[in-house]
Each structure stands twice: as structure tokens, then as C-alpha cells.
């Protein structure tokens, strides 16, 4: 089994421009250090109709209400500002920005627990002996020689579909054929209950695919058991 850069088609070139936008890095940095409530705020505001911050401040009194002050309030303000900036990019662009932010967030959280011996990379394929290469690259990979990991990243639970689940499970299965313990996971910036409702209806094999939902994103920093 080995990792390989994905070939860049026209879509990938356009998307690379989104990924390189400073807003993506800023939002991902803020979300990496965010509370679960702040991440819920980000999900709501990035997908909101209104871009006036006061409406969102009123909607999240635990973050901006009378009891909130000091550094936590300041961080929540930064999360809100970045989220509204994403929403302000317009309906056509915001979905691309949101996807890029989830990928960058995942990469940053994983990088917190890895070193040079297990680099975190983006847009990579996994090749197996005697197996036809997959069409779509993985959004994020942790390329450890001994305990590799592959991640697909989604903005919402609705992005969980059979193609994604099958690809992740196939990779895990092919790796097992080569005696490699590959962790396959899907990261979703959406609440766990909605993701599980989606997964419950899926006929794709996902019993060995790990779900990392909005409430458990910080698990990505933790060393794999």
C-alpha cells in the first residue's frame, strides 16, 4: 500500500484557489481552538440567511449573553466574524469554502499529534497491489508507515453517501489484505445524531468506518488507541 498525489483536473485547480484563501486558514485555526458551542455557531452562521452579527449574538446567549465575557467571549466573536465572512462570499462560493474549512480543520487537528514520521497530507490517493486506483482522492491522510489513516471530510451529514462509505471501507479492506491496519474515518461538521440518522439508512458497509462529528472533533488530536 502507498500514498500518491492525485492528478489535478480543472476542478481541483479551481478548488486549490479556495483552499489557499486566507479565510480558510483563519477559520480553521479558530475552529481548532473552539468549543463545541462555537462550532455549532460556525455551522449555523456560515449557512445563515442574515449576516448582521447582532442576530447571531442574540441566538447564542451562552456565548454572547450577560454571563459571557473576557477571552471566551472574544474568541466567540472571532469565530462569528470569520463565519459571517464565509457566508458573505455568496451562496455559490460558500459551500466550497465550508468544505475547504472542514478539510483544513481536520488536517490541523491531526497535525497536533503527529510528527515528521507521519505527515498529514491533502488530496492523496491510496494505491494497493493489484487493485484499480480509486477515482477520488482522500481529503486528508495521515501517512504513518505503521498506522496510516485516511479521512473524508463533509460539511453536513447529507454529504454522507454510499460512494464515500464504500471507498473508505474498500481502502480499509484492501489495506487489511496487505496486513496494514488502516484507519478510515469520515469527519462531518454536523451533529452526531443527524450523522447517525444518515448512516442508519445507508446500505454501504460502514461498520469499521469511524465517524467524527461536530461534538467529537477534538478526538482527532488524540493518539490512536
Amino acid at each position: 500500500m502507498r500514498f500518491q498525489d492525485a492528478a489535478r483536473d480543472a476542478r481541483a485547480v479551481v478548488y486549490a484557489g479556495i483552499q489557499a484563501d486566507p479565510l480558510v486558514a483563519r477559520a480553521a485555526t479558530l475552529l481548532a481552538g473552539a468549543t463545541t458551542a462555537e462550532r455549532l455557531l460556525a455551522r449555523a452562521a456560515m449557512n445563515g440567511e442574515r449576516t448582521e452579527p447582532d442576530a447571531w449574538r442574540r441566538m447564542f446567549p451562552t456565548l454572547f449573553g450577560e454571563a459571557a465575557s473576557g477571552e471566551p467571549r472574544g474568541h466567540a466573536e472571532l469565530v462569528l466574524a470569520a463565519s459571517l465572512e464565509v457566508a458573505g462570499r455568496g451562496e455559490a462560493s460558500r459551500s466550497q469554502f465550508r468544505g475547504a474549512i472542514v478539510e483544513e480543520l481536520t488536517a490541523r487537528l491531526l497535525a497536533a499529534r503527529t510528527g515528521a514520521d507521519a505527515p498529514v497530507r491533502r488530496e492523496r490517493r491510496v494505491l494497493f497491489d493489484g487493485v484499480r486506483a480509486e477515482i477520488h482522492p482522500y481529503d486528508v491522510t495521515l501517512e504513518s508507515n505503521t498506522r496510516p489513516e485516511v479521512y473524508d471530510c463533509k460539511w453536513g451529514a447529507r454529504g454522507i453517501n454510499a460512494d464515500v462509505l464504500n471507498q473508505l471501507d474498500d481502502a480499509r479492506s484492501h489495506a487489511a489484505d496487505e496486513d496494514v491496519n488502516l484507519r478510515a474515518a469520515i469527519v462531518v461538521l454536523d451533529v452526531r445524531r443527524s450523522c447517525e440518522l444518515r448512516l442508519d439508512r445507508s446500505t454501504a458497509n460502514h461498520a469499521h468506518t469511524r465517524l467524527v462529528a461536530l461534538e467529537s472533533l477534538d478526538e482527532l488530536r488524540e493518539t490512536r488507541p
Binding site: 442574540r58 441566538m59 450577560e66 447529507r158 452526531r192 442508519d200 439508512r201 462529528a213
Partner: protein, 143 residues
Amino acid sequence: MVPRSRSGRYARRVNERQRITERAAASYRALADLAESIEDEWQYVTDLGDAYEPSILALADANGGRPLEPEQVAAVEEAIAEIGLITDPHKAIDWLSTFPHVVALALGGDVDEPAGDGSRAPDNDSTEPDEDSPFRSLLRGDR
């Protein structure tokens, strides 16, 4: 003139909790109606509605039915106003997942479990969700 009784004021404040959760649930149903126009997602939309609408209604009993602060009511009203602006059914599907948790966060409750299994507060005066509830991290603000 009969003076206002303390129990009367309490009842009105408790009714406020019920009123706001019923309004939230009605808005949620309207959002689901909009989302249902995406035929390929009908099942998912139905599953979300079946799961979350009872959980939103059960928030009337969250925190032992403790009276709400004005900013909690305002927060839910803002969330209701936000989803009332949505006209895109695709966006409606995203909000079917987000809205219940925004409301629960504002009301200090939990919509992570089916209503009756974990959403309803116990009979005692506990203000905390179960230890193993993912929602617990929303309330305590883990970083």
C-alpha cells in the same frame, strides 16, 4: 382586586417555556415541509423530523421546567426568525440538523437522544444532561 399569586406567575413562566418550544416545533415542521421538495432526500428529511420534533417539544421540560430568562426566549425567537427566512430547500435540510441544537443550547436542554430516552429532564431538579451526553460539552464549553 385579587392580588397576583406567586403560583400564577410561576405558571405563566412555565407556560412561556411550553409556548416557545411549541413555536420552535411548528417552525421546524414548516422547514421540513420546505425540505421535502428535494425528492431524493425525502427519507432523510422524514427521519430528521421524526427524530427532532419530539425532542424540541421535550425541551419544555428541560432543566426541570425551570422558568426561562428573557435572553433564552430571545435566542429561540432569533433562531425561529432565521429559519423563517429560508427559501432554498437544500439549505432547509442543513438547518433541519442545526436548528434543534441551537434551540437546545439556548434552553439549556438536550436533543441528542430520542425524546423520553434522554431529552426529558428527570423529575428531580437536575440542570445537567447525562454525563455521557455529547450535549454536555455544549453546555460546559470544552475547548
